[in-house]
Symmetry: C2
């Protein structure tokens, strides 16, 4: 039997009584009309069936100033974080009218979902576009890089947070790492794997830890999100050494071939694990280097694969290819699908061919077996322990520079550790 | 100063004295002429510089009957294992003449490197070919499957071991899983990551554990190798749920989206972890189903990728594609690189399009976001938690059957759990 209940506003502190039991928390926007969503003091979100509720009391009305995109009444007492919404699950909520996804696009809406970050900082919200991340490409990376660089060069800003879909977040984090270069402040990418309408939402912890990271002295492009399946703390992961490794887990992003830079707790405690670039005391201006040549491709090698796929890319005008090679850096080197003559032919036609590890973990080594030696001999460049995804982004970035486009200059840049994409101290410790 | 020393034969039990210190072990073939390689009782291989050695004593001459390929004097007291050499690091040793790799191709050579497995079983050695695994393709999978099926149908044989290169071993293990179907005996694939000439060789433990597995009641296609960085025990991993995850570590092969089937110790102890198909008491004959249609391809989706790569495959006469999609199963669904119209066009032209997870871990779910729903609507089939590599092999296998080639029959087979390639009980426990 449906019982009557008051309908307080999201952001209000309320008490909910079910079967004589009382729960107190902040009312969240819930777009399941039958469910009341409450953020408990413990930090967990809990959903109640409205029909089970016997009473609701408003304990405290939400404190919110009207904020519009780009126009803020800042407290001037808290540090300023620029928050750039680009889409993804973290920036979306269910639209009760359509059943589809609706974007959160202004500070007010963001506040109603995530009031805590507004307690930590004066948050200025911007949104260049709202996209699911599988729809992003290099033009989006360039737009984000340019916006971020403006925030970095604003002396009022302590750090930047970018919320982003998870699917291709590791490509974007690589792109920003290369395009922004040496930083003076933190650039934090974050995400959620679960919709904020659900009880199991991971966005709250990720956002609070991201705010802590944005105010920290980690002046790098980092990805901040759940360190494990608990809601206890987050990892800060280097933007060029991270990959989405699970389709749904909250701790989907993993440091590959390196450690996380730090553990970050929601209360602001930070435990450093790796060395990192520290916040600049002189607040040096950032010169964004947001260029990209899209004539690059990534091919995953597999047994029996016809190497004439390389001809397709050549014909289409591509300039350079990353091949995800097997093992220490091999492709088929005999029989009818011998890749070596085809690669040699393409390199002679001024295509650049780079190798990245299909295993993801570990380092390539062309010197152990003869096919590797042969491939290197004909001009394939082995990209050490780089992630294939990072390799692709780096290649487009490097070729985006006219002065780096010669085969020697490109090779030199591709082998230079521009943004921590290589781990020169890597042993066999990670897997 | 070089000291004189006796030159005992590989396989002899010897004592080596250096600086008054004595080491006892089995002499191994060493192709570094300056190094004497000894297998200690502890199981470790140790190399001594010959110039440091003051004395060598032969304690026991090797016991070896002359064995040639396919012609064996079996003890008739031990169980019989058929050992199929296909190449790879595990079947190779340095050729002291050329500095290159030389294949181990007969029982005598195998014995001189790995005497222990001959103590556990009567080992019959065959070799259909010797290849680095990056050079293998579906024809090789078919040849191996046919040879293995003969061994499985020989009532004298207790189990089969296949030694194989690591680079594409997980493709072969998938292929054999599909081609051999329900088994009556164990089919064990094994490997080494380090050359057996080196002190850190991993082949000994892998081979002994493989022999234990071949004599066990695990009647599945399994991959047996180091469980971790120690030389203590191995895992038996299901052939369709395994992937090479590190370019050089001994425990490179990992169960993805499932647990290992068992832990196997070199002394024969086996600890079961997962349910498995048990050795048949009635020794049912195996009907090998060794077919493959090579007109299949694997594409890894990445941001900004031009979907007209699909036209290339269509023009080349390919029948079906696996797309490694991002996240829960997405590709770009808007803008100039919108994949959806292109996929729809190709499906209308009778190309089959299947989705596998680029994250490797976790399960696809087309129902969470609208692009997934749209892709499924236009005919893309989502392959749950399958590995992309396994998906490719399965697709070629399924299309190798004339009667399964219709779009409905193919889809039905692709979604049927033929060889444990799906984990229907998968939660979020693995990463």
């Amino acid at each position: 039997m449906k019982k009557p209940f008051k309908n307080p506003e999201p952001g209000d502190k309320i008490e909910v009584i079910i079967n004589g039991k009382s729960d107190v928390g902040i009312l969240l926007d819930s777009h399941d009309t039958g469910v009341l969503l409450l953020k408990l003091d413990s930090g967990y979100n809990i959903g109640f069936k409205k029909e089970d509720i016997s009473e609701i009391r408003v304990l405290e009305k939400k404190k919110i100033e009207k904020k519009d995109e780009g126009k803020f009444e800042l407290s001037h007492q808290k540090p300023v974080i620029d928050f750039i919404l680009t889409g993804g699950t973290i920036s979306s909520k269910l639209d009760p009218k359509t059943g589809g996804v609706k974007w959160l696009i202004d500070a007010k809406e963001l506040f109603s979902m995530y009031p805590e970050i507004f307690e930590i900082a004066d948050v200025r919200v911007y949104s260049p576009f709202m996209k699911a991340s599988e729809n992003m490409d290099s033009r989006d990376w360039i737009r984000i890089a340019k916006i971020v660089s403006k925030s970095l060069n604003d002396e009022n800003v302590k750090g930047v947070i970018i919320s982003h879909g998870t699917d291709t977040l590791h490509y974007t984090s690589s792109a920003l790492s290369f395009m922004l270069g040496k930083l003076n402040k933190p650039v934090v990418l974050t995400y959620s794997q679960r919709s904020s309408d659900r009880g199991s939402a991971d966005s709250r912890l990720n956002l609070i830890c991201s705010a802590r990271a944005a105010l920290s002295d980690i002046a790098e492009v980092i990805l901040v999100g759940h360190a494990n399946m608990d809601d206890e703390y987050c990892f800060a992961l280097r933007g060029t050494k991270v990959r989405k490794m699970h389709s749904s887990r909250r701790d989907t992003f993993r440091a590959i071939n390196t450690k996380p830079i730090a553990k970050i707790w929601p209360d602001g405690k930070i435990e450093t694990i790796l060395e990192y670039n520290k916040r600049g005391k002189n607040n040096t201006k950032i010169k964004v280097d947001a260029v990209f040549d899209n004539r690059v491709a990534l091919i995953k090698f597999y047994p029996g694969q016809d190497p004439s796929i390389l001809d397709y890319y050549k014909k289409k005008g591509y300039r350079a290819i990353i091949i995800e090679m097997s093992g220490l850096g091999h492709v088929c080197s005999e029989g009818k699908n011998n890749w070596i003559p085809k690669i040699q032919e393409l390199i002679k036609k001024r295509m650049f061919v780079y190798a990245a590890p299909q295993t993801l973990y570990g380092r390539l080594d062309p010197f152990v077996y003869s096919p590797g030696r042969k491939l290197q001999e004909i001009g394939v460049v082995y990209l050490e322990d780089i992630l294939p995804e990072t390799a692709l982004v780096k290649l487009g970035f490097v070729l985006g520079h006219k002065s780096w486009r010669g085969s020697i200059a490109t090779k030199e840049k591709m082998l230079q550790n521009l943004a921590g994409e290589f781990n020169p101290r890597l042993g066999e410790e990670f897997l």
